[in-house]
């Protein structure tokens, strides 16, 4: 009885805590979070004051951030909206960061120390045009400085303290583009120079106090300008003509405009092609980028240009840094294999270098793309220079005194795709000393932990415990572990760099900038697509390393030739790399491997021909056996058609080419006047389903319809295909389809009136969950569809089983007409969703959780049980026992079930789940601008002791029990002796 009671109590205790939440001191034990900013576009140093030295940057990921110059850490950061691109950044009043965004229509000021937005101003823009921000440096102290914004023909002058528009001026009705603005020292006027219709040069002299145009001069130039101009002195501007082969010097002294053309080949004999002016503001010096090098020219008056220096590629040149009243400094960076030479020069004296340094760089960063220069005063009162370098792989370096002070791997802010790889198996033979040491450490750790749980530890010891847990040597090893927690995450970034991250602490194990994905003559505009597992050696073939396949494309068009590269997953060594002869439209990894365990992949090109990789006769032989079972489909979003294909061989198969022709099997055309395809989703190829049967209440069985060929398609009304707020409930609807991709049969179709996108969906086992917006209720909604196989229902009859009349052994085929039933239900969900995924475990036994990336950049784990279509308002007793939750109209959000806990994955774009070896556990990797990795156990870690398990307490208990046993034994002996004496 007592045992039963105890057992009952224990079960109660275990089952009462189903939440998988985290304690605050567990942060960082199994998760890591990395913050990035992306490729830097603009950088402004703020080092004048004695306080913290910082640099403010804006990036291609639309991030505005303030970085610590000493360490490269982020002080603060803001991720702006997708369409709210930052055009320019400046510092005003020495305390505000001013950003101009959304094509010159939004001007914001941010507080420099903490990033708080101070003011925001909306400006009118006439037409999408290049906009220019200019913070006027007013010499009069105490006066409010003005910020000038040029957008098209409009000039806005805003007060930098509160963002109020002081004056506004419309300069010209034609398409004016202001190129340069400058302010002569100690004067109330500024010059605005620009082009009208790219053929007329115009100079305005404007009073900055009220915007009054004091003087205006125009002159037209017959061959036109290409839209760039460089100011070289107070009265000369140099521009390129429309053909980019003539340099045009424009003098505008005293309102008189004169042009002077110079044919570039006359100046630079080896020039061919097209030149570009580098945006720089040097006194009397011009930087021209010709295809092979950067040429510095001195402008001597209007009609004389002189070559000063030619800097061969690859190199980069910085903007000018005002150094003293007369001098400006600039930096030139030049590559010499893996070294970079940094030269800093003054524009007054170009022959001598102020500073000459050489830094050594690892070869995986590519060329220098951008340089920003800043000066500082050394302790001995001399001037030093530091440069901020943006590399081809989007990483950021700070170089000072010939050394790299810090680097930021900011390419990781733009991950395109990822995959995982197992680590190598541990080698045999571990030294005894090591074991002894680790045993001692282990015991010490556990005793400290025990002290912690018993609240006996001093603050120092608490800190020590935390350090031990975080540093845990075990999780960072470079070998495979029992539980499969240690893996390599192989990520592909937009810059064409592949990095392997360790799941233990997120460090970069290796990185490689793929040479084939860099801009070259054969491949003009390389563009990365996907990364796949190429070769996963069998666990006995240990001498071989696994490898991954990287697919790219030369250019953004579908017909551009593909790029194919195989990279070793342990070392990053590039095994094979080539530009394909055909284009790449889809890549299908097949569940087949050849004799060397390379995965077979089918690449569909733009003409729908299928190319088999690897290109070996062995692979073809294996594939030919399976070819009748290979089906694929293509979704043509613009045409509203989904087509299904199989493969066939026309004529003789060329063994060297391995090209197969498509054979159209079916097509589904959606009526374009009422539906447009918004989203398609399929099951993950490698998902494992434990059982087809689902035991429901009353010992009943339902059979899941499990097919790898289910395609979920969501279509919306064409009027409602935009954002929320663009359509009324009457003109919006959403259709959800479940399509078998082999036969093209529509298994199920459901409509949601008054619903619209954006839609996010996840398909797993026999269910689909999708998220959309319900315009009627004006709330987000999530729906679930579950499909059950009706044809197997009869198998429940025991007599049929006994008589052998069951169809359990009948193969499941997409050809046979499926007899399915569908259950579905919808619920409200509070947040907008950015991304959705589902947990995956090794054997598929563990229950599932949905991982929802919310609009607040957090990842929420939601139990699939909340999305069970069998939920009802009043579940019966047996249903309750089965674990069915009473129906509520909205899905609950428990703050403790955020897997990202108190962190945000800024700019969240994707969530990837990978099963660990331990059945209960899933590894979750979410990426965006930030990276976050953790492991979660949807049904708690029922198959392993948690980190928190106190071995010391267990030992103590055993010792206490043995002691008690001995004491009672002794007592009983004595008692017995006394009895006998009596």
């Amino acid at each position: 009885m007592a045992i039963r009671a105890c057992l009952g109590l224990m079960i109660l205790l275990f089952s009462s805590t189903i939440s998988t939440a985290l304690f605050e001191d567990q942060v960082g034990l199994s998760d890591w979070h990395q913050k990035y900013i992306g490729k830097v576009k603009h950088a402004i140093f703020h080092t004048q004051k004695t306080g913290r030295k910082r640099v403010v940057v804006s990036t291609e990921e639309n991030v505005l951030a303030s970085l610590d110059l000493r360490t490269g850490n982020i002080f603060w950061r803001h991720v702006l909206g997708k369409i709210d691109c930052i055009d320019q950044v400046d510092i005003a009043l020495g305390k505000y960061v001013v950003t101009l965004s959304s094509g010159g229509s939004i001007l914001r000021a941010w507080n420099l120390p903490d990033g708080q937005m101070i003011w925001e101003s909306i400006l009118q823009v006439s037409a999408p045009s290049k906009s220019l921000l200019h913070a006027l440096a007013n010499m009069n102290v105490g006066k409010d400085n003005l910020i000038l914004v040029f957008g098209g023909s409009l000039i806005h002058a805003l007060s930098s303290t509160d963002g109020q528009i002081v004056w506004r001026k419309e300069l010209s009705t034609n398409s004016l583009e202001i190129q340069q603005v400058f302010q002569p020292r100690d004067s109330d006027i500024f010059y605005a120079l620009g082009f009208i219709d790219s053929s007329e040069f115009v100079a305005y002299y404007v009073n900055y106090k009220n915007g009054e145009v004091l003087q205006q001069s125009k002159a037209s130039f017959k061959s036109g300008f290409c839209g760039e101009a460089s100011l070289s002195s107070n009265d000369v501007v140099v521009a390129l003509d429309a053909s980019r082969t003539y340099l045009v010097s424009i003098s505008f002294r005293n309102g008189v405009i004169t042009f002077q053309q110079t044919y570039i080949p006359d100046l630079i004999p080896e020039f061919s092609g097209k030149a570009t002016l580098l945006p720089s503001k040097y006194n009397g010096i011009l930087a021209v980028d010709i295809a092979s090098s950067i040429v510095l020219l001195r402008v001597k008056g209007v009609n004389e240009l002189e070559i000063i220096e030619k800097i061969n590629y690859p190199s980069a040149i910085s903007d000018a840094l005002p150094f003293s009243k007369e001098q400006q400094a600039f930096a030139i960076l030049q590559h010499d294999e893996s070294r970079i030479h940094i030269k800093v020069k003054f524009d007054t004296d170009l022959t001598n270098e102020v500073l000459k340094e050489t830094i050594q760089l690892d070869g995986q960063r590519g060329n220098v793309e951008k340089v920003f220069i800043n000066n500082y005063i050394r302790t001995d009162r001399t001037h030093g220079f530091r440069v901020l370098v943006v590399m081809e792989d989007h990483s950021l370096l700070l170089v000072q005194q010939g050394e790299i002070v810090w680097t930021r791997e900011d390419g990781l802010a733009s991950i395109v795709d990822s995959t995982t790889s197992e680590l190598p198996v541990e080698k045999e033979g571990v030294s005894v000393a090591e074991v002894e040491h680790s045993l001692f450490e282990w015991l010490k750790g556990h005793f400290l932990k025990l002290k912690g749980t018993l609240m006996l530890a001093s603050p120092d010891e608490v800190a020590a415990i935390q350090a031990i847990r975080l540093k845990s040597f075990e999780k960072n090893q470079m070998t495979r572990d029992h539980n499969g927690f240690r893996k390599l995450i192989i990520v592909l970034t937009r810059a064409g760099k592949i990095l392997a991250l360790h799941t233990g602490d997120g460090r970069v194990v290796w990185s490689v900038l793929l040479p084939v994905l860099r801009e070259s003559e054969t491949c003009g505009n390389p563009f990365v697509l996907n990364v796949y597992q190429w070769q996963v050696p069998h666990h006995r073939a240990m001498h071989e390393n696994p490898s991954v396949l990287v697919i790219g494309r030369c250019g953004h068009n579908f017909d551009a030739p593909g790029i194919f590269s195989i990279v070793d997953a342990y070392t990053g060594k590039v095994h094979n790399s080539l530009v394909l002869e055909h284009s790449v439209r889809h890549v299908m990894p097949l569940p087949l491997t050849d004799s060397t365990e390379q995965h077979l992949h089918i690449v569909i090109d733009d003409n729908l021909h299928a190319h088999l990789y690897p290109k070996t006769s062995d692979a073809v032989k294996i594939f030919l056996d399976e070819m009748p079972n290979v089906f694929w489909y293509s979704v043509e979003v613009g045409k509203n058609i989904i087509k299904g294909y199989s493969l066939e061989i026309k004529g003789e198969l060329d063994m060297a080419e391995n090209v197969f022709q498509p054979k159209e099997l079916w097509s589904i055309v959606f009526p374009s006047e009422s539906e447009t395809i918004a989203l398609t989703a399929t099951r993950k190829m490698n998902e494992i389903v434990h059982t087809q049967a689902k035991i429901v209440a009353d010992q009943d069985v339902m059979y899941k319809y499990i097919s790898k060929n289910i395609l979920f398609v969501a279509t919306v009304a064409p009027k409602a295909s935009g954002e929320i707020g663009s359509a009324t409930p009457e003109e919006a609807w959403l259709y959800a389809y479940l399509i078998d991709t082999v036969s093209g049969r529509i298994l199920h179709r459901v409509s949601h009136q008054g619903a619209q996108g954006p839609i996010h969906a996840v398909v797993s086992e026999n269910w689909v969950v999708y998220h959309y917006f319900n315009l009627r209720a004006h709330r987000h909604e999530m729906s679930v569809i579950e499909i059950y196989d009706q044809s197997r229902e009869d198998n429940k009859d025991v007599w049929k089983l006994v008589l052998g009349k069951h169809n359990l052994t009948a193969p499941i085929s997409s050809y046979s007409k499926p007899d399915v039933t569908v259950k579905s239900q919808s619920y409200f969900f509070i947040h907008s969703v950015k991304s959705m995924a589902v947990t995956a475990t090794a054997k598929g036994i563990t229950s599932k959780q949905l991982l929802i990336g919310t609009i607040g950049d957090q990842v929420l784990a939601l139990d699939k049980r909340f999305l069970d279509p069998r939920r009802s308002a009043n579940p019966t007793q047996s249903e309750k026992e089965e674990g069915i939750i009473p129906l509520t109209d909205s899905l609950p959000i428990v703050p403790q079930s955020y897997v990202t806990h108190a962190l945000q994955v800024e700019g969240l774009r994707g969530i990837v789940t990978t099963p660990a070896k331990l059945e209960s556990t899933t590894l979750v990797f979410s990426y965006g601008v930030d990276l976050f990795f953790t492991r979660i156990a949807p049904s708690r870690t029922y198959d392993s002791l948690t980190e928190d398990f106190s071995y010391a307490l267990l030992l103590l208990t055993i010792v206490a029990l043995v002691a008690a046993l001995l004491v009672t034994w002794a007592l009983s002996e004595r008692k017995e002796l006394r009895e006998k004496w009596r």
């Binding site: 007592a2 105890c6 605050e24 004006h778 509070i830 703050p895 007592l971």
Partner: protein, 208 residues
């Protein structure tokens, strides 16, 4: 369609507590910005009431206000004011992303027929907002609270249960045994000895 829209002129009584901010309020809510087409939605995020309870200073540096699921993002100023510009007429959704707080999304209707009229309501509890002041419904705790050490928690742990059970057996069982007839007991013990089955009773102190 150049116009700006004030969000429902607030009744004077409601405005009274806000008089301190009235100059700001006028600017933020009834700002007259003739820029582009469409309307301006302006409002304020307030953390004050709930933040006081926890004693944490209300931090507004990293609060984002999101229109229509990411169509545009606005940031709150130091005093909590935010605005969206050039918003077309229609029904829109505003969400607030602030770590540590739970905000209900807000449905905002901008009337096309009646220019300048904006209505707002929380979608979670259908509460109509007369002013676009967004306050968190609750604070969010992302971590489980670790309970301080107690005898009960130790008892509840598997080891504690094991010990408890052992103690129970050790002290209660002999008491139970005492009630058994000594003759019967001896017979049972002998029976077991002959069978040679190790049993619990052999470990127990013999009562007589």
């Amino acid at each position: 369609m150049r116009s700006s829209a004030a969000l429902f002129n607030p009744p004077l009584l409601l405005l009274l507590p806000l008089l301190l901010f009235s100059h700001l309020l006028n600017r933020a809510i009834a700002a007259d910005l003739r820029s582009g087409d469409g309307y301006t939605i302006a409002g304020r995020v307030k953390l004050g009431a709930t933040a006081k309870e926890s004693g944490l200073p209300a931090k507004l540096t990293n609060i984002k206000v999101i229109l229509n699921g990411g169509q545009s993002i606005s940031f709150a100023k130091a005093d909590g004011y935010f605005s969206f510009h050039n918003v077309p007429a229609g029904t829109h959704l505003i969400e607030v992303a602030a770590l540590g707080y739970f905000f209900s999304p807000v449905r905002v209707d901008i009337s096309a027929r009646n220019p300048g009229k904006i209505q707002a309501a929380l979608t979670e509890n259908k509460r109509v907002l007369y002013e676009l002041i967004l306050e968190p419904l609750r604070e969010e705790q992302y971590y489980e609270k670790r309970e301080p050490f107690s005898i009960m928690s130790l008892m509840k742990s598997p080891m504690g249960l094991m010990m408890g059970f052992m103690l129970l057996v050790m002290f209660v069982m002999p008491k139970l045994m005492e009630n058994i007839d000594p003759e019967e007991m001896r017979r049972a013990q002998e029976e077991m000895r002959t069978q040679g089955v190790p049993s619990l009773s052999s470990l127990l102190p013999r009562s007589n």
